[in-house]
Symmetry: C3
Subunit: 351 residues, 3 copies
């Protein structure tokens, strides 16, 4: 497949600097681009890398003007680049999957119009699914779940009883929503499981990454707010209330009954102990271990976590610890000598 | 649905203080309760929260006497509250699922009476399943596995060859039991996989959380002791021997050939290096990295982990590190001046 | 089943010291061996443990000569021991599974000769699978994937569109390859998902552990090099380029766009921030948090990670921190007294 640079400029409604007849054979990022391909440059600092690459042209943001190769200036580099990439690799036509005869749908379930329910999906008693939702193969939706419109649930994901999923949410493969909360009381040497009468309620426009697990509440719901994005292999425990538009990166673990405000960000591998409240727009750095409440807007780091500013001072001091230790020893020696000398002198004086 | 407070007191065999005719419409925890609902108070310190809530009544533990709203005193608050919650949300009748014609069961497999084997479950050659066990949709039980009585295996869980599961154990969705151990020998630049001849043996009354993985032993079994509870996304490597009644929280990783005694507790995101022994009733704090054996009854914290008491002193000192660094610098200056002054003085004296 | 020690020596072509007629009933590792069983000793230091065990004989490496029980000396202890173990527990005949009528295979998919496609597997549009590959039950291979020869994909694993898997690679149960990358741009308060036009390309002889997730690239591929071994519950984010023959242990998390050289080793629970380059043969210690590039051959430890040597000094100093703090306080007191004394003396002198 081939298209001229001028046609690409038209496709993305961009401003072309260079030869409109130059043939372009595909797209690639800077590190992969070969001759004939167009790449993208969204930051000024990438220009040296671009000039060393084999790319034949670039889509650039306003104000970026690489010399030495033709470029197309656009308002939204990523949108435009995606459009061109899609031109070269058009997605397969989705086809009309509809409801597979190999899906198992309980007679009491209600499926909205335009849904795709793929083979080997299992839809339980009393489940309600809205319009145009896609349920991939091997998804298990247990009794009483309610799924909104335009939801996508990727293969082999499991929703336990009474899970709620809002409109336009995306659940990636292998996620497990609504398993039992990990709460026990020890009675005569055995751990007795707590009540498991709650469920999980996921808002609208939520995305949940592959292999993530969210446990049901004890008596009420565990909730995920609208617009929140959760990465792969995250664990959210029973009774948590996650706010709206949170960003929760991979392998984060949030223990039971935590609350987060809106627009909270947690970087990878963060751990939050149980019953913690995290204020809106707080940011928790990677691998932090949060042991106490975090105020709104605060940046926390470290394990145990503390305000970023304090933690950075501590990190800096830790890096100097061996030096501090040597200094302390040397100082001790000097002071010991001083004391000895002065004692000696005092004795001399006294003599 | 509605029921009077007096009827609720009878249901839970509790002692009512307040109007027996008060109508109750449902249950909720304190933070969610609306007017008409009954909530629960298991700790004295929750009374202020209760009084600020909209709950119309409370189930309370012996000795807790909130003023200003009716309450029912019971011996076991959580049992009683669960009973009332279940009254308002009766579970769906389980129905008699029996053995689904859509399950694939090898002709040599033996299924005990009263089992439910759901659709799309796969039961391999020579598998033996006890009585009244429930195998949910999409569970894969490979050849030679032995499953006890009253076991529940939630959807899409995978048991590799020869896995053993004891009576009354619960395996949550998406767990993987018996995958290959991660052991390699490097031969001529390539990593050669070790023998994978062992299996996994899970005791009685064990619970395993969603997405957890337990690898098979090299030549013999990896074992999980009776009564041990394992949370979501935990990794237990080949040849481990986990004791009885352990509590292993989410995202813990235990490397190969570790041993734990009975009643060990590991908090979230703990990592244990290979070939470590952890004594009975030891407690390992969240995110700890255990690099050496832990004695029975010890509390360990930190990475590298050490006894909690020592680690708490170190954490406290770390928080003061920037201050210590300033103090050290100031002290150095003072001592330098002292030395200079004394040298000057000595020279004066000598002069 | 029983076999004489002499026959075992013949089976493994080893050198027997002891009674060739001794009957052997099975194999077990030292800690499990009972009378009648043969065990293995691959390190000199295990001899005391061997002598305390109930094993009746041992397979030993050249140069290890336990006294007090018969032994067989061999070149490769583990190979030999695996051979004997397999003699006692012969694997089930694999049978000719072929293509199950219960698998769902798209009419445009191409399946090589000698493949086993088990029941409930789903093979999408245009998928190409090489020769002798085994696709277990419940595996979902979405459209456009290309799978090599002699590949094994264990149950319930999911491959998103256009995933590539090289020859002889093994994917364990419940892994998810090719899910969306976790990249967002915040537009008017909502997080907008980045382009998801790339895929995942896995090389030859790669092994991927249970529950691991690898996300697709934004525009191009996320790649895993030939011979690389990845343990359970690992997360590899979009656009990463993992080198050849890497060893990536359990619960490691690698953020977007990282590069690793060949023969890199990462121990358990390591976290790598985005856009990091790790040089060939670098080793990253358990739970390390890598925030900057790591040179080839370096050993890094700690969070934030730094060269092992420096980090070990810091760990040592941290362990002494409470002592340093006491020393610093005492020193401060001494110096304060010195200063006071000297000031007093000066005043005396001046008087």
């Amino acid at each position: 497949m081939m298209i001229s640079l001028g046609e690409i400029a038209e496709l993305v409604e961009g401003r072309l600097s260079g030869d409109p007849l130059l043939p372009i054979t595909g797209t690639a990022t800077i590190r992969d681009a070969i001759a004939g391909q167009i790449t993208l440059v969204d930051k000024q600092k990438l220009i040296p890398q671009l000039l060393k690459s084999s790319a034949s042209a670039a889509i650039v943001a306003e104000g970026i003007e690489p010399s030495g190769l033709p470029f197309i200036t656009v308002g939204d580099v990523h949108r435009s680049f995606a459009k061109i990439t899609t031109y070269f690799q058009p997605p397969r036509a989705r086809g009309v999957a509809g409801i597979s005869p190999r899906a198992e749908i309980h007679e009491t379930a209600s499926i909205g119009e335009g849904c795709d329910i793929h083979s080997d999906a299992t839809i339980g008693e009393g489940v309600v699914i809205g319009k145009r939702s896609i349920i991939h193969p091997g998804v298990r939706i247990m009794s009483g779940c309610r799924i909104g419109d335009d939801v996508t649930i990727f293969p082999n994901t499991v929703l336990y009883e009474n899970t709620v999923v809002g409109d336009r949410s995306i659940l990636h493969a292998g996620t497990v929503i609504g398993g039992y909360g990990f709460g026990y009381e020890t009675v005569e040497g055995a751990h007795r499981l707590s009540a498991q009468l709650g469920n999980v309620e996921i808002g609208h426009d939520v995305e949940i990454g592959s292999g993530t697990t969210i446990d049901r509440g004890t008596y009420g719901p565990t909730t995920i707010g609208d617009g929140t994005k959760i990465d792969n292999l995250v664990m959210i425990a029973h009774n948590c209330r996650i706010g709206r538009h949170n960003i929760i990166c991979s392998q984060v673990g949030i223990a039971g009954s935590c609350l987060t405000g809106d627009y909270v960000i947690m970087a990878g591998q963060v751990g939050i102990r149980d019953h913690i409240t995290i204020g809106e727009r707080a940011i928790i750095g990677a691998q932090a271990g949060v042991m106490s409440d975090v105020p709104a807007g605060a940046h926390y780091l470290g394990s145990p976590a503390m305000p970023e500013r304090e933690q950075m001072h501590i990190f800096a001091a830790e890096a100097r610890l061996p030096e501090m230790r040597r200094q302390l020893k040397a100082l001790q020696r000097t002071v010991d000598e001083l004391v000895a000398a002065l004692n000696g002198k005092s004795q001399q004086d006294a003599a």
